[in-house]
């Protein structure tokens, strides 16, 4: 059948100036083939390398877009008109005039420029944790113009956070951390979006939560979550900017399984539970997470810009007291159970079990392995009655210096040294174990129970509860 093909003004110079061409064809594809046979210079403007009609080109049969019919196979009849219609689109630059002013110190650098700032704006970075590491991360990523920042944190701002978590302030005490973070970051930069996830990251939700993000930055402080984040990032193919701090030392690396090692290549197994105290238990110099978190933000920005050398395959070690940076080379472990040649882990596992953490929440035992507990009221009553109780404090020496129950005969056996010093406790004694809030002493109780001790009590709520209910003059810390 003879049909007409109408050629848009922009392409007529490739068709000898013709605006309308007659061909004999049975389908659209047939007709367009004949057109480019007649005018070969039209070919690259209509078809891509694989022979498909280019994205920016539409073809209509009479009034219908062929994509709504049978595509190139659409049949045509005598008298039909095929019209080639260009797709017309465009728009302003990614940055408004205000943003251009705001980021001028970036834009004038060739390593960033408009192109780089646009990449920062289009980037989506997820922060796991809005605490010590998460604070400088959020602040500097927001200031830099990262367009979408996600934050996973279910916690509430506590006064003890303010010594280091500079994203939050005194007025935020008691507020949810994601609310406090959102307010602070949008105040720094109203041109970005903040997405809050008020939930704990678990094996059940981690893959869903991480999936939409370009870069994941781990600001957590516990081993189960570190392994969970690592595994989820390996499974999803995402870069994981790792940072950790312990007292006066910090570590930094970028784990990206496609290009280098993952966290498991470096730390195949977690340390035994209780060996590495958390910040709450071991303490931390407040400015140190500020330094490591800022370096994590830097690595996140470098990954987005594609600038410099990211810390892939490199571990930065920082000693704050000696003021020394060292670097170790990291190699991908070919036998790594998740990112190696023959991975045995193909899904998220139970990380609490993996890390040997007994499955109890900070608030108290919630499972069948509950420990026998005594409240501070009961303890005080029994001490006043003169009951022969042995009080064992499992905290650290410097905590004893802050507050203790020495007047009631309490003795200090730090949790870490309990296995070696169990023999200082008579097996016939009735023992009350306590620590600051009841967590460590519960662990101590289980160790003693496993060793055969029978008359054991955990002081519920620890010295915090004692300070609340019995002796308000005892400092809470």
């Amino acid at each position: 059948m003879t049909i007409s093909i109408r050629i848009p003004a922009a392409l007529r110079s490739y068709a000898n100036g013709d605006g309308e061409v007659q061909v004999a064809a049975a389908t659209v594809s047939d007709a367009l083939r004949q057109l480019v046979d007649r005018y070969p210079s039209l070919l690259p403007h209509l078809f891509d390398a694989s022979g498909e009609l280019r994205n920016f080109v539409n073809a209509f049969v009479n009034e219908d877009d062929v994509r709504t019919l049978d595509g190139p196979a659409t049949r045509v009849s005598a008298g039909d008109t095929i019209t080639i219609v260009p797709s017309i689109a465009g728009g302003a630059g990614a940055l408004s005039a205000e943003e251009v002013r705001r980021y001028s110190r970036h834009l004038i650098m060739p390593e960033v420029g408009m192109e780089g700032q646009r990449k920062l704006k289009e980037a989506k970075i997820l922060l796991i944790g809005a605490g010590g590491l998460g604070s400088p991360l959020g602040l500097y990523l927001a200031a830099a113009g990262i367009g979408t920042i996600g934050i996973v944190d279910f916690d509430v701002v506590d006064e003890t956070n303010l010594q280091r978590q500079v994203m939050h302030g005194t007025r935020d005490v008691g507020r949810r951390k994601i609310d406090s973070a959102r307010d602070r970051l949008l105040d720094i930069n109203p041109h970005i979006d903040i997405v809050g996830y008020e939930t704990a990251l678990t094996s059940a939700n981690a893959l869903d939560i991480l999936a939409p993000w370009d870069v994941v930055i781990d600001g957590t402080d516990n081993f189960p979550t570190r392994y969970l984040v690592n595994d989820a990032c390996v499974l999803l193919g995402k870069p994981n900017v790792y940072g950790s701090i312990f007292r006066f030392e910090g570590q930094l690396s970028v784990f990206w399984a496609e290009q280098g090692p993952c966290y498991r290549c470096l730390f195949r197994e977690p340390p035994p539970p209780g060996l590495v105290p958390s910040c709450a238990e071991g303490g931390v110099l407040g400015v140190l997470p500020g330094i490591i978190g800022t370096l994590q933000a830097l690595e996140g920005i470098k990954l987005v810009l594609g600038a410099g050398d990211a810390m892939i395959g490199r571990l930065l070690l920082f000693d704050a007291l000696m003021m020394r940076f060292r670097e170790l080379k990291l190699r991908k472990d070919p036998d790594c159970v998740i990112c190696g040649a023959n991975p045995t882990i193909r899904g998220l596992i139970d990380y609490d079990e993996f890390c040997g953490v007994p499955a109890f929440a900070a608030a108290g035992a919630a499972d069948g392995d509950a420990v026998p507990a005594i409240t501070v009221m009961e303890l005080k009553q029994r001490l006043d009655r003169g009951d022969p109780l042995t009080l064992i404090d499992v905290r650290e020496p410097h905590e004893w210096d802050i507050a203790n129950l020495e007047e009631y005969g309490a003795r200090l056996i730090p949790l870490g040294s309990l296995p070696a010093r169990m023999n200082e406790i008579g097996s016939a004694e009735e023992v009350v174990l306590f620590c600051r809030t009841g967590g460590r002493s519960a662990r101590a109780l289980r160790q003693l129970r496993d060793a055969g001790f029978r008359r054991l009590w955990n002081l519920e709520g620890g010295l915090h509860a004692w300070s609340d209910a019995i002796d308000p003059s005892m400092p809470r810390y």
Partner: protein, 143 residues
């Protein structure tokens, strides 16, 4: 030597009017006219709806069917689709990287800057055949 594109004063007024009214979103439309001896004359505008569902403050899209109908209609009058216009809210009248990625050679692209609701002087651009850059065209007013 800069290429020239001529528009009646009334067309320029209409252009600024559409751009200002549409603020803070991008407006878009078709330039209808003809080319004689290398000089383009815009006879009138054919405004169309910005088909983008999102990012309307910095992106525009012209419906292909709408364009097809306009082309068919103006051909009957002996005129052509010479190019397209769109506005840049709070942004200069300079084609962006996004504009360049989506542009076609040959067409004139007229951009109207609209700073805080006030439309400013439009500028016209044509994409080089090698897609490397836009070349500016001078807009002259036809009285």
């Amino acid at each position: 030597m800069m290429r020239r594109i001529r528009m009646p004063a009334g067309v320029i007024d209409a252009l600024l009017g559409y751009a200002g009214t549409g603020y803070p979103e991008e407006v878009c439309g078709v330039l209808v006219g003809q080319e004689d001896d290398g000089v383009r004359h815009i006879a009138r505008l054919a405004p169309v709806r910005n088909e983008r569902n999102d990012e309307r403050r910095r992106r525009y899209l012209i419906d292909a069917n709408a364009l097809r109908r306009i082309e068919a209609d103006v051909a009957a009058e002996g005129l052509d689709v010479i190019g397209f216009y769109h506005s840049h809210p709070d942004h200069p009248a300079i084609p962006s990287a996004f504009d360049r990625e989506h542009a076609w050679p040959w067409y004139s692209y007229v951009i109207v800057p609209v700073a805080r609701g006030r439309a400013g002087p439009p500028r016209a651009w044509r994409l080089q055949d090698d897609r490397g850059a836009f070349i500016e065209e001078t807009i002259s007013v036809d009285s």
